[in-house]
Subunit: 797 residues, 2 copies
């Protein structure tokens, strides 16, 4: 049975997908409401499809270009196999398919949620969360299905389905990296493009509709209102789905790569009942089990009372979430115990081989689960209604927009403190437990509940849309009240979901970073080398510039939308009286075109920079391993800075949003109750305008930026190092111990060995010292040149 475990994730994924299909049929069977509702819903559905189709056209070109580039590379570089092209194309295809599926179900669910809200709140929750479940299981199921299938395929193709060597497994996993690269590339465009789309439509609709024309939000007379609702699906549903699809795949892949290196550290092969690849299979098994666990979790989300408030809805979601996290912990224990050798050897850089019991790997997974939850809680604290940071921003709104904005910025900045400490603690602890394999498995455990997280996340925008449809189709106020309860809960889950997304992206990037270092065969990334340090700086700058480009893109696209809405108000007769029909499709087209155009530059920045760093020095004849180390410095810079800017922007944006929302129920400022429409509220609205691109465009894009950067590095890795082929004439001719002595009056004792090679007369002198506390320290000097030159150098030393 154990030898068949390799197929288990596929089976589990298919079970998940079947359940998803059932759930999908159930949702689609629900009543879609009256004619007016259907009409609006169809507009949103078509708008969303229009965006997707335009996006896919563009992405097809992108995929073709990258495929050709990869194919060329695979023919030129002997260590890269052409199958990586196939993996890349399928990765892109699966990611697009998952996004498409999610978006379709979301746009079908929204009108059904509105209709269900006519009957009761529990029904509305059931339908909207059902839609979210379809989305979550679809994404996770396709991710596990695709990755596992390709792994099995390559495992058979390159290794004949049985363990041969870690080197062969490395080739399997390097080729599999193409799948992850494909998925993440699509995610880049979905997240960034979607983020620009949603905010351009939102700002455009608000600025002319609400502010200039004075009509309420979601008013059907506003030509941009459909684009605004499409945006919620494009950005929050499809973008988030693609983001987590990419994280899921990348995390599992990175953990597999590091599992292979565990086998290497254990002597190149292990003897277990899983064909000797237990450590490689474990991450896939956890991911597969996670699908079933998430399925169970989603079944637990229900409320019974029709008079339920936000807190009860929140509790229902929390129960589902916490139960699934607990189940993952139990499953990890069982799987780790079953699939890993009881003790393993792992090489810790600078510390040599260490004995690691499998229970320490389990410890690492627990770290992942705890930190995932803790970072979500921190996010909730800094962005939650009624919490201290929000109340402070509300108070600062009374002295104007300037102080409101300073307070919001400061809140976002301060929130990096606990988040980063938690995160640094997670790196440290999971590494101390089980090396970088531990870090990768911490990420895997955290990501195991991805389907559940996505379900919780996706039901928010669905409810938001349902509210919009209720407004546009002029339903009874009770309908809007019920969808508003769901929407309000959805805002909180959106914030914690962003915390989860960034935590998982960060851990994934670290695992990819570790996989990169082991792939290239460099000994580490030493920032004491100036070129590496320079690249650390450059990497640190990229997320800042990327964010600025994304923000500017929103501004530009929103301006186009403003002009179009103004034009329609001016030129279409009877539009304000409700007799003329606004041209919704024009606004949808503007958002679509603008977002696709504006995502080019940030995309180019993300993909172009690592390539420039890798290949330009290569042209100038720089040593490949030195380049690999520089690129590693760049990756570290992007990751550190990207995580900081993601937390800062997401939390500042979320805080401003909820500070503004606080005025709806009224807030106490200087002893006076202050409501919507006050000067303080206006200041808070300004803050929210600044926060919108922060939290919905540039902030969430950071996830993709850091993951994609590390993935590109991983794909370039085999070109840079590790597998040099060909004979050398540097064989060592002579090696002699030339000195065994203490140094001056110091405590260290040292051995000097001189090695002479025949080829180009390289002489290396290695001085090894053992210090007081038993530490070993090594210094190497290399002299090169003709025999006479080397001798002269030795004289002078």
């Amino acid at each position: 049975m154990e030898s068949m475990i390799i197929y288990a994730p596929i089976v589990l994924a298919i079970i998940g997908l079947l359940y998803m299909w059932m759930k999908r049929s159930w949702v689609l069977k629900q009543d879609a409401g009256d004619g007016k509702m259907k009409e609006i819903s169809d507009h949103i559905y078509e708008g969303a499809l229009a965006f997707l189709n335009a996006e896919y056209k563009l992405l097809t070109i992108f995929v073709i270009v990258v495929s050709i580039a990869l194919a060329v590379v695979s023919f030129v570089v002997p260590t890269t196999h052409w199958l990586i092209v196939i993996a890349f194309i399928f990765g892109a295809f699966f990611s697009a398919l998952a996004g498409n599926m999610g978006m379709k179900i979301a746009t079908k669910t929204n009108v059904r949620t509105t209709q269900a809200a006519k009957t009761s709140l529990p029904n509305a929750l059931g339908v909207s969360f059902g839609g979210g479940t379809v989305m979550g299981l679809g994404v996770a199921g396709l991710a596990v299905l695709g990755l596992t299938s390709f792994f099995i395929l390559f495992f058979h193709y390159f290794m004949g389905g049985v363990w041969t060597s870690t080197a062969d497994m490395t080739i399997v996993l390097e080729t599999l990296a193409g799948f992850s690269l494909g998925a993440e590339s699509i995610a880049l465009f979905a997240r960034v493009g979607g983020g620009i789309y949603t905010k351009a439509a939102d700002v455009g609709a608000d600025l002319v509709g609400k502010v200039e024309a004075g009509i309420p939000e979601d008013d059907p007379r506003n030509p941009a209102t459909i684009a605004d609702n499409v945006g919620d699906n494009v950005g929050d549903v499809a973008g988030m789905g693609a983001d987590l699809f990419g994280s899921y795949v990348a995390t599992v892949l990175a953990a597999m790569v590091l599992g292979n290196y565990v086998i290497k550290d254990m002597g190149g092969s292990i003897d277990d009942v899983f064909g000797g690849i237990g450590p490689v299979l474990l991450p896939m098994a956890i991911a597969g089990a996670g699908i079933i666990i998430s399925m169970i979790g989603t079944m637990l989300v229900k409320i019974s009372s029709n008079d339920a408030k936000e807190s009860q809805v929140m509790r229902a979601l929390n129960i589902g979430n916490w139960v699934s996290i607990a189940l993952v912990a139990v499953t990890c224990f069982a799987l780790v115990k079953w699939m890993l050798p009881a003790t393993m050897q792992m090489e810790f850089f600078g510390e040599g081989l260490k004995e690691i019991s499998s229970m320490r790997v389990f410890g690492a997974t627990i770290i992942g689960l705890i930190v995932g939850g803790a970072i979500s809680s921190v996010t909730e604290y800094y962005t939650g209604l009624g919490k201290k940071p929000i109340l402070k921003i509300v108070q600062q709104s009374s002295t104007g927009a300037g102080t409101n904005i300073i307070a919001g910025l400061a809140t976002g900045m301060i929130s990096t403190f606990p988040s980063v400490l938690l995160f640094a603690g997670a790196i440290w602890a999971s590494y101390a437990f089980a090396g970088f394999y531990g870090v990768a498995l911490a990420a895997s455990a955290m990501m195991a509940t991805t389907a559940m997280q996505l379900a919780i996340d996706a039901f928010g925008p669905i409810s938001d849309n349902a509210g919009g449809i209720a407004e546009m189709s002029e339903q009874e106020p009770i309908v809007r009240e019920r969808t508003d309860i769901l929407d309000s809960v959805g805002n909180t889950t959106a914030a914690t979901g962003k915390g989860f997304a960034i935590a998982s992206a960060a851990l994934t990037s670290l695992a990819l970073f570790a996989a990169y270092v082991t792939f290239t065969g460099i000994e580490g990334i030493n920032i004491f080398k100036a070129p590496v340090l320079a690249m650390l700086f450059v990497g640190g700058m990229i997320p800042v510039v990327f964010s600025a480009l994304a923000m500017n893109a929103v501004g530009k696209a929103a301006m186009e939308m403003v002009q179009e809405v103004r034009r329609q108000f001016r030129e279409i007769p009877g539009i304000m009286e409700g007799t003329g029909k606004p041209q919704y499709d024009k606004c949808v087209a503007i958002s679509t075109e603008a977002s696709l155009r504006e995502m080019m530059l940030p995309g180019l920045l993300t993909i172009g920079f690592p390539l420039v760093i890798a290949f330009v020095p290569m042209i100038f004849g720089m040593d490949n391993l030195a380049i690999a180390e520089m690129l590693g410095g760049y990756m570290a810079g992007v990751t550190v800075s990207g995580v900081l800017w993601a937390i800062f922007q997401n939390n500042a944006g979320g805080a401003w949003d909820n500070a503004k929302k606080s005025f709806e129920a009224g807030v106490l400022i200087d002893g006076e109750m202050t409501y919507k429409g006050s000067e303080a509220h206006k200041a808070a609205v300004t803050g929210d305008t600044v926060g919108d691109p922060f939290k919905d465009t540039s902030g969430p894009s950071m996830n993709i930026l850091i993951k994609l950067t590390c993935l590109i590095g991983l794909v370039i890795a085999p070109i840079l190092g590790g597998h040099t082929i060909g004979e050398t004439n540097n064989s060592i001719e002579q090696a002699e111990i030339i000195n065994v002595a203490g140094v001056n009056n110091s405590t260290t004792k040292e051995v000097e060995v001189r090695m002479t090679t025949e080829g180009d007369e390289t002489v290396a002198e290695v001085r090894t010292t053992i210090t007081e506390d038993g530490k070993t320290d090594v210094k190497v000097k290399t002299y090169r040149g003709t025999k006479a030159e080397v001798e002269a150098q030795l004289e002078n030393r």
Copy 2:
């Protein structure tokens, strides 16, 4: 003669200080105007003194506490000498003295500038720039005088005034680091405290005076107006002076440390006419020469026409600036040629020893000069009136404060792109020229014109104050017009000065970072070790949180000021009619107390974090070298993130400021001329409110944060590693070559050496490989335990 060169910097510094004294007498001899003007000027002078005195009281306590701590450390840790305490106290004292001197002359010059502006613009420039010159030469002269004197003292104390060994020189320089630490600690409080003071007073004065009471800026009826003018001196003059004093000292120190390591790489001693310490003396010689060059530069700054406009004033400053930079280049060439051996050996990490000609060191200094100038130009582009980025922010103001703020943030963020690329290029190129010694000398060359830079920088706030006095004492409009021309030029030089300050701080930090690594004796900082990577994250977070604390501090202090001003308007009869006299001193006291109180937390963060990282793991028995590497990761994180946030905040703040100023002359928005008082202008004012703490408080504080962090690391360095003293029982008993062979089918050839020690049976195995391209690669494995345990481990490997 050459052997006396060690005293040359002292002589040059004294010449600079004598010239400064002459200039000071000349300025003080100028007419201080009528009674009203004198009265206001005296208020400002007294307010500034009040702040300084309060600050010094607090700093005395701080200096005593740190001195005791250092003394304890020096008695416990055998490698730290007690003289470091003396050096620390004098460093703090000299820095405070320089700040005091600068602030006194600035507050005396302002009223004389107003008076001179009554006669002509050239006179006004002469007086205000004269004050700046006094400030600049005072700071630079004291820095060189203090550092050189202590170097000579320690050189004689520890080495008897002649070269003994690099180890002894290391002790000299480690002790000298105390001087730099003292200077930088004062700078922290001066910069942060001053930054909080100036913005609290500014915002407080504007919010109640301009907005609520509707009286113009600098109106004598506003109780906060004196505090506001004091703030210009406290923040922009004393803060900037202390900042550059610290950079100057730290840069020279770091270059000296690295010079000592050049001597080490050359075999432990060199034979030159400078007593064998040419590479150590060179940075001091450049600094000394820089004082005379700056003196010449300041003499070139004059205009002749009374009808001169901003551009002519700017040209006069530029001539002085560029001539001094050119003179530094020439001087560097001569000094490098004269003082350095024609060829040197330098160890490049991972590349072994390299031959470096002295002309390559000169190349590095040229890189420093070019990049210093280029970063200032980039700053000017992103923040200059009439430039594209500013025009864009102006356009975005038409749609409200939200879009204005997004545009300003994006501008600041985008500006990191060219700045960081330039900066990374500088690291790379100067390192390629001459290793980290090259990086340090690039910084030294850039800093050589510090006196000139400070003169250019300080004349701005002096002119600003002169304008304020003109307004408050109700002079003819022509007087204000003339001071406004100077003030406007001063705004541009303030922005470029900030560019210079951050560039120099960043290069200084890198040089300190390199000195730290060599001090501790670690082989590098490998971010592939998880604890090091975790600390890189934590370090990256510190500047973000520091900035937030500084911004919040301004908000809090400003609120107190607002309440006090409101109280005075309410309670003092006849204040608005000009018959009641406002209590200026109360407002000064509030700003003073608030700023000193609020700088505690950021100060604690800066000083506390490195100490926690160094000493907490030590308590838990972690290996010292591992801690040293972690602390190095932290330092790198703070530096990379700090540089980014400094550029971002300074440039965003500067851009908002000038976008607001653009409305004074009128701007074209959507084809319409728009002026002050329009809705767009109000939006721009909101942006400026956000930008104020960015550019005057948190942004400039980053310089100190990164330098002080690296300095604290440098002072801790000897505790962490390098010079362990005492006998060990780990002497090597046996060393044998156990294998000389190729590895499998690979191309690398390797030698294995096994070392056995008697003590605790440590066995180290060193495997050295020489790869295809002649690179040497070393792997060490250490086995520890009893003899039986070690043997068992060897069996299993």
